[in-house]
């Protein structure tokens, strides 16, 4: 029968379950939405940044520079077209370029892209082989961790590729690929690719001995000299090629994307304001209904400050409940979003990470609850016990 203020506050909340549930639900929803957005934004940015990793420029066919970046750095968009290797080499061999990684693709296996490239592509992302070895001869492939898992490819497996990047109907049944290596999970774009040499990609489309023009889709460039950003585009101004800067394009993307997030954030803040009102009304209401009880507790030795504290505690408990439930809501939300994003873009979102900004969010939500209780609670401080008891 031990009593405590927490127990009394808890009993009071539990005695009006509907109003308590409404307050908690509103706050949870507001907190959940804001933290969901923080998580989504953070994790997308994180995924973007991880894949840019020291890629200063991307050389590819003319078209939308954003598309060029999305297609070749993240492998989520269709490529802008192909460029002739001979043309590209002018840039690749330029003294301002520290590293150049060619990418050639156009086929898929179960919708995972088969990319012809150099071993330096693997080194660039610091990926390790889980088993097997890197490719050496045409039609040897190394598969990313995700591809191996989802498509069920193992060392020594053979398969045919399909033409295009999304379609699985047009199968090149004359050329057999062999898995010679599987990569460890690197949490980069490599996880979702099948890698081979560039000759393989040309070989797939080489029909009955006729020579295919040596083309690549894009070249990832790392600069040696900052002037490269200014000089190289001039070098190719009269070709069908362009150079795009991933940092700038991604910034532009997240800014546009940020606009949508901003709207959602406003809605979430409105919901939090509503939950403030709800807690305010809930405490105010219970204060009116319990005026006599509060006076009674004063006659039994409760100080005005003690009662004020107990009302704050009720607001605090409500908001704490909201914050905890909100965290659960946002985790469920991000998990749902993750499956959606993974399905569409093949990107992992890690649902369980807690951001520093979320602690701030939790603290401010609890502050909202305390404030919502503190204002009506002032009436408890000023309660005229004698009159309240006489009026009853």
């Amino acid at each position: 029968m031990k009593l405590s203020w927490i127990k009394i506050a808890w009993r009071n909340l539990a005695s009006k379950p509907l109003s308590t549930a409404l307050s908690i639900a509103l706050l949870a929803f507001g907190v959940g939405m804001v933290s969901l957005m923080m998580l989504a934004e953070h994790q997308l940015r994180d995924a973007f940044d991880r894949n840019i990793k020291d890629i200063d420029m991307v050389l590819g066919a003319k078209g939308s520079p954003l598309q060029l970046i999305l297609a070749n750095v993240y492998h989520v968009d269709a490529p802008t077209g192909n460029i002739r290797l001979a043309d590209a080499e002018k840039v690749m061999r330029h003294p301002y370029v520290a590293e150049a990684i060619p990418l050639a693709y156009g086929d898929n296996f179960q919708r995972y892209r088969i990319v012809g490239t150099e071993p330096s592509y693997v080194e660039h992302y610091g990926a390790e082989l889980a088993e097997g070895r890197l490719w050496e001869t045409p039609f040897e492939v190394v598969v990313g961790a995700r591809v191996a898992r989802e498509a069920g490819l193992k060392l020594g497996d053979t398969f045919f590729s399909s033409h295009g990047l999304l379609d699985e109907t047009d199968v090149h049944t004359d050329k057999t690929f062999t898995v010679v290596g599987v990569l460890e999970e690197s949490r980069s774009v490599l996880d979702q690719l099948l890698l081979c040499n560039v000759q393989t990609v040309w070989g797939v489309h080489e029909h009955k001995g006729e020579e295919v023009e040596q083309e690549v889709t894009a070249v990832l460039l790392k600069k040696r000299n900052p002037l490269a950003v200014l000089t190289l585009p001039n070098l190719i101004s009269d070709t069908n090629m362009q150079i795009a800067l991933p940092a700038i394009e991604v910034n532009r993307l997240t800014q546009n994307f940020g606009l949508g997030l901003g709207t959602l954030r406003t809605i979430a803040l409105l919901i939090m304001a509503l939950s403030f009102a709800s807690i305010f009304i809930s405490v105010y209401d219970s204060l009116l209904a319990r005026r006599y009880e509060l006076a009674l507790m004063r006659t039994m030795g409760a100080t005005a400050r003690g009662l004020y504290g107990s009302l704050l505690l009720e607001g605090g408990l409500l908001s704490l409940g909201g914050v905890v439930l909100g965290a659960v809501v946002s985790r469920v939300g991000i998990a749902l979003l993750a499956t959606l994003v993974e399905d569409k873009f093949r990107y992992d979102l890690n649902a369980l990470a807690i951001l520093p900004s979320e602690w701030l969010l939790a603290a401010s939500a609890i502050a909202v609850g305390l404030l919502a209780a503190a204002i009506p609670g002032l009436r408890a401080l000023r309660l005229d016990i004698s009159r309240t008891l006489s009026d009853a």
Binding site: M1, S15, R290, M297, G301, A304, S386, L389
Partner: protein, 245 residues
């Protein structure tokens, strides 16, 4: 915390023209020259001095509107008098700060209201734990003592019920239990019988007396109930406010 027995009390002890045994003084409640005004324009209320020792009983009689409840609130420190002093268990209430007064009242004064009120979200038993918890005094024996008390008052099986699930009579008895559970020095009863029939009145007043005796508290009954007017020799009748001028 200042000393619970301010020096001035010793002085008052000497000038107090009462015949009560000094051994029981600790449980006493006494008022002296009390006046009170609700607002500047309203008449100044003057109250006769009253005194009630530990284990003794006092009747405060008077019709509605003669300031009975005001006097009761002054005696329990819920209202501060304009002039005069209330002494409870050897402590002058005017010497206490608001906080101290709250604590002191919680620990030393039990109040039985005309209609019992409870913290509705707590069980009867938890309501009985409130005085000990809120006054910081604690309740000796805790749950056992509370259950025994409810048992004695014939509502033992209601201990874990919500107050609203009790009948009015049961609530009244639970109210008495709550007023006395923490062994206060003074038990103030505000119209405890006015809503009750003759038989219940007798039962309730007998309960008040026996339970007050059990903890050695001074029992002050404030009432306009004529059935009680001859019950105690120690009685003070208040005059209607309109006749005070």
């Amino acid at each position: 915390m200042r000393s619970p027995v301010p020096k001035i009390n010793n002085l008052r002890l000497m000038v107090m023209p009462r015949i009560y045994d000094l051994r029981t003084f600790g449980g006493m409640i006494a008022t002296e020259n009390l006046t009170f005004q609700y607002a500047p324009e309203t008449p100044m209320l003057r109250f006769p001095d009253v005194v009630c020792a530990a284990g003794e009983r006092l009747l405060l009689l008077g019709d509605s509107g003669c300031g009975k409840t005001t006097l009761l609130h002054l005696m329990s420190g819920l209202l501060r008098p304009a002039t005069g002093t209330v002494t409870v268990a050897g402590t002058a209430l005017d010497g206490l700060t608001g906080r101290e007064l709250d604590r002191f009242r919680g620990a030393e004064v039990g109040i039985v209201f005309q209609r019992a009120h409870f913290v509705q979200s707590l069980t009867v038993l938890q309501n009985l734990a409130l005085p000990g918890f809120l006054s910081g005094k604690g309740t000796e024996g805790g749950e056992e003592r509370a259950r025994a008390m409810l048992e004695r008052l014939g509502i033992g099986e209601k201990a874990d019920k919500r107050p609203r699930d009790l009948s009015i009579g049961e609530q009244q008895r639970a109210g008495i239990a709550r007023a006395l559970i923490h062994s206060p020095s003074v038990l103030l009863a505000d119209e405890p019988t006015s809503a009750l029939d003759d038989r219940s009145t007798e039962r309730v007043i007998a309960l008040l007396e026996s339970e007050a005796d059990r903890v050695g508290a001074a029992l002050v009954v404030v009432t306009h109930d004529t059935r009680l007017k001859d019950r105690y020799a120690n009685r003070v009748t208040l005059n209607p406010v309109s006749e005070w001028a």
